[in-house]
C-alpha cells in the first residue's frame, strides 16, 4: 500500500525482526460507515507499534477485528505465516492475541481477582479456590508494581485503576500480541509510568505491542514504529526515529495545527461561584472562587477528590460542611436541578456511566439539557430540535452518519464530543468540564479549547478538571492542586513549573494505601 509498509524484507531468521502478524486488505463496513478501507500492514515480533489517527479513523475497529470481537468484511489476517479466521475472541486469545480495550470491559460487580481469572478460574473438584486466586492475583499485581488490592470489588476502583487491572489481566494469558487502545486516557502520570514500565518489560519478553493513543509524546516515548490511519485508510508507517510530531499530525488530519493550546486571557469579571470551607464525601475544607472570564483548573491524581468536589457543587452529592455562594449570595444546591437553574453545567467524567444515553440517537443526547428551551409549552419544535443537533455536530465535527444514529455506534472520541457539546447551547454561566478531552484527537482538542475561549468571552466561567498536566497548565488562569481530598496548592497562570505541581499532587512521600478503597 505505502512504500514504507512494503519495504519489509522477507522474514529474516533473526527472531525480533520477524513478521508475526500481517494484514492483507483488511476491511470493515458498518451499516452506513466504511470504517476500514482495505489495509495492508505487517507487525514485527517484539516491536511496539503505535497507531494514531483522528477520532473515528478506524483504530478501535482494527483492534476489534484482530481480537475477534467483530467479524471483518473482507481481507486476510496472517498469524505466524498461517491465515487466521479470528471469528471469536476465544480464537484470538488461543493464538495469544489479547487487548486492553478503550472502554473497560470487565465485570464491575466481581472482585479484582475474579476478573483477573475470569474464564480461567482455578477450581478443584468443581470448587472455586477463591483464596488461592486472590493470593495469586495479588502476586501478579504486586509483581507489576501496581499498588492495588486484589480482594476488592472492581467497581470500587477508579476507572484508571480498572484500566491497570485490565492490563494486568491481559498479561497473564500467555500473550504474544497485546493491544492497548488508549490505555492512558484515564490514567494519571504516575499510573501511566507504571503502565509504560509494564509495556517495556513485555517487549523485553518478546511480546508484540500495538499502542493506540492521541498523545504524541507517549508515542515518541514508547514506540518503535508508528502507523497513521485517516478515514479508514492507512496513510503511512514510519520508524519513530525518522519522524516528528508535526509530520504525524499532518498525516493524521491532512492539515497542520500551529497551536493546540489556544489561550486567550480575559480580564476576570464578577465572582460567579465561591466555595467556602466546603467538605463532603471525598474532600475536605476546600475554598475557591470562580470568576466570569477565567478558567480555574483542578489538577491532581485520580481519586484526589476533584470530581467529588464539583459534583457536590452541582448538587449531585450532599455537602457535609461549608457554604456555596452564587454571585455573592449564599445558596442551597440540593439537586442538579438547582444547580442548572442557577446557571451551572457539568460535563461529567465517565461518558458511559454519566455522560451518555448510549442506545439513543446522537441528536437526543445533544438536546437533552435544552428540551425545555426548544419546546413551547408541551410540544417540541422539531425544526429547532434538528437545527440545534446539527449545529453541535458541525461545531465539534462529530463524526456520525446522521443525528439519528445511536450514540453507541460512534467512536470513543466522538462520543466524548457529545458529552461536551450538549452543554454548549445551554447558555450556562459556569461550565464544569471533568476530563473533557479524554480520547479526543488533537485537531478536535484545539477546537474544544477555542470553544472554551468563546464561552469565556461571553462572560462564562469554567472549572476544568484534568489529570493531564499540560492541559490544565496551558489553559488554567488559576490552578488548584488537589491531594487526597485537600486543596494543597494554588498557582496563577504559569507561575509554577510542571515539576513543582507534580510534586505537590503526588505528596512528598507515598504512604501505602493499605486497602483504603
Amino acid at each position: 500500500m505505502t512504500s514504507t509498509a512494503q519495504e519489509l524484507h522477507p522474514a529474516p531468521t533473526l527472531e525480533p525482526g520477524r513478521t508475526i502478524l500481517e494484514l492483507k486488505g483488511l476491511e470493515k463496513r458498518y451499516p452506513g460507515t466504511h470504517a476500514l478501507k482495505p489495509v495492508d500492514l505487517a507487525f514485527k515480533a517484539s516491536e511496539i507499534h503505535a497507531i494514531v489517527g483522528e477520532n473515528g479513523a478506524g483504530k478501535s475497529t482494527l483492534i476489534k477485528l484482530l481480537t475477534g470481537v467483530m467479524p471483518r468484511t473482507s481481507g486476510d489476517v496472517i498469524w505466524e505465516g498461517k491465515p487466521a479466521a479470528l471469528a471469536t475472541p476465544h480464537e484470538a486469545m488461543a493464538l495469544g492475541i489479547n487487548a486492553v480495550h478503550q472502554e473497560v470491559v470487565l465485570c464491575r460487580h466481581l472482585t479484582v481477582a475474579a476478573n483477573m481469572f475470569l474464564g480461567e478460574e482455578d477450581s478443584r473438584f468443581g470448587i472455586l479456590q477463591q483464596r488461592a486466586m486472590v493470593r495469586e492475583a495479588q502476586k501478579i499485581i504486586d509483581d507489576l508494581g501496581f499498588d492495588l488490592p486484589a480482594h476488592v470489588v472492581l467497581g470500587d476502583l477508579t476507572i484508571g485503576q480498572q484500566q491497570l487491572i485490565a492490563a494486568a489481566r491481559a498479561t497473564v494469558r500467555g500473550t504474544k500480541f497485546l493491544i492497548f487502545d488508549e490505555p492512558t486516557a484515564y490514567l494519571t502520570r504516575k499510573e501511566a509510568d507504571q503502565l509504560f514500565t509494564l509495556i517495556r518489560r513485555l517487549k523485553g519478553e518478546g511480546v508484540t505491542i500495538i499502542y493506540i493513543s492521541h498523545r504524541m509524546e507517549e508515542v515518541f516515548e514508547l514506540a518503535d514504529r508508528v502507523s497513521v490511519l485517516r478515514d479508514g485508510t492507512l496513510v503511512g508507517t514510519r520508524n519513530i526515529a525518522e519522524t516528528n510530531d508535526a509530520e504525524l499530525v499532518k498525516m493524521m488530519i491532512n492539515r497542520s495545527i500551529e497551536q493546540v493550546y489556544h489561550k486567550e486571557h480575559f480580564t476576570p469579571g464578577a465572582t460567579l461561584l465561591e466555595a467556602r470551607n466546603l467538605s463532603g464525601k471525598g474532600f475536605e475544607n476546600v475554598s475557591m472562587t470562580v470568576r466570569a472570564g477565567e478558567i480555574v483548573g483542578l489538577y491532581g491524581l485520580i481519586g484526589a477528590g476533584r470530581s467529588e468536589f464539583v459534583t457536590t457543587l452541582y448538587g449531585r452529592h450532599r455537602k457535609s460542611a461549608g457554604q456555596i455562594l452564587w454571585e455573592g449570595k449564599q445558596v442551597q444546591v440540593n439537586s442538579e436541578h438547582d444547580a442548572i437553574r442557577l446557571g451551572m453545567a457539568l460535563a461529567p467524567e465517565s461518558r458511559r456511566d454519566q455522560g451518555l444515553c448510549l442506545n439513543l440517537p446522537v441528536g437526543l443526547n445533544l438536546n437533552l439539557p435544552i428540551y425545555k428551551r426548544i419546546s413551547s409549552n408541551l410540544l417540541i419544535s422539531s425544526a429547532q430540535e434538528k437545527a440545534e443537533a446539527d449545529r453541535q455536530i458541525a461545531n465539534l465535527r462529530i463524526k456520525t452518519p446522521t443525528r439519528n444514529a445511536l450514540a453507541s455506534s460512534l467512536s470513543g472520541g466522538n462520543q466524548q464530543k457529545i458529552v461536551i457539546g450538549k452543554w454548549l447551547a445551554h447558555g450556562a454561566k459556569l461550565f464544569i468540564f471533568d476530563e473533557p478531552t479524554v480520547g479526543v484527537d488533537v485537531g478536535t482538542k484545539a477546537e474544544i479549547y477555542r470553544l472554551f475561549s468563546e464561552l469565556l468571552s461571553k462572560g462564562a466561567g469554567i472549572i476544568l478538571i484534568s489529570s493531564y498536566l499540560p492541559e490544565v497548565y496551558e489553559l488554567a488562569d488559576t490552578l488548584h492542586v488537589f491531594r487526597r481530598g485537600k486543596l494543597v496548592a494554588t498557582h496563577g497562570f504559569h507561575t509554577a513549573d510542571h515539576e513543582e505541581i507534580l510534586t505537590q499532587a503526588l505528596a512528598e512521600k507515598q504512604e501505602k494505601p493499605g486497602g483504603q478503597i
Binding site: H34, L360, L368, K372, N404, K422
Partner: protein, 321 residues
Amino acid sequence: MSTEAIAAERPKRNYNALFGLTLLALLVLLWVILSVATPSFASANNISNLLRQGSMIAILAVGQTFVIITGGIDLSVGAVVGFATVIVAMLINAGVPIFLAILITLLVGVAIGLFHGFGIVKMGLPPFIITLATLTSLRGIGLLMTNGNSISINNDAFQLFSRSSFLGVPNLFWMVILVGIPAYIFLHHSRWGRYLFSVGSNAEASRLSGVNVQRTIYMAYTLSGLCAAFVGVLLASRIGIGNPTQAEGWELQAIASSVIGGTSLFGAVGSVHGPLLGAFILATINNGANLLNVNAFWQRIITGVLIIVIVYFDGLRRRGK
C-alpha cells in the same frame, strides 16, 4: 456528508414506521386468512366484537409501554382494572353521578400510580416488586370491600355506552383513539416523552443533564395507573358488574402486546402505535382461534410462539442483519 451517510439516514429514520407497517401487514394478513377460513369472521358483529376485545388491552398496553420505556415494569395493571370496576360500581350504585364516579375512579388509578412511583423513587424498591405487591393486595382489598361478591351495576346509561357504536365503530374502539392520539403526541413530540426514553437509557446521565428523573418515573407509573383505571371503567360498563377478580392476567397480555409492538424490556425503545397493533394482533388470534374452534390451550401456546418469533425478528433487524 458523503453519499454513504445520506443513504444510511433513510432506514434509520423510518425504522419505527417500517416496523409499524410490518405489524400492520401482519394484522391485515391475519384478517384476510381468517375471512377466507371462516365466514363468520368478517361479519360486522364479529369485527365489532374483536375491536371491543382488543381495545381494553390496547389501552393498558399504552400505559404499560410508558413504564417499560423507563426500564421498569407494571405488573399491577390487571388488578387495578379489577379494583376500578369495584370502585366505579360502588359509586354508581351509591347514587354518585356517572361523570363524578368515573372521575373518582380515575383518580384512584392515579393514586395507585403515585404510590408505585413513591415505592420506587423514595423507598428504592424494584418496580417488579412494588407492582407485584400491589397486584396481590389490590385484589385482596377489592375482595374485602365486596365480601367476595360481584356488584351488579344498576344504571343502564352507564352500560349502554360500551355497547353502542358511533359512526358504525364501537365506542370502546373510539376510546383507543381518544387515548392513543394524546399518548402519541406525549411520547414522540413532548419533552416528557424524550425524558422517558433518556431515563430508560441512562438515568444518571439524564439526571446530570437536568432531567428530573424522579418526576419522570412518577409520571410513567401514574399514566399506567390512569390507563388501567380507565380500562376498569370501560370493563365495568361492558360487563355491568364490579368484581375485583376481573381482568386476571391482563397485565401479561398488556406486556406481551407492548413487546410484540417493538418495546424493549431493557428500556429506551418503544412507541405508541406498536403496542396498539400488538394488542389487536393478540385479540385477532384469540378471536380467530375461537371461531375456528381451536382448543383454548392451543391459543396460549400460539401466543407464546408468536411473541418469541416477532421479538426475535425485531431484534435481528435492529442489529441490522
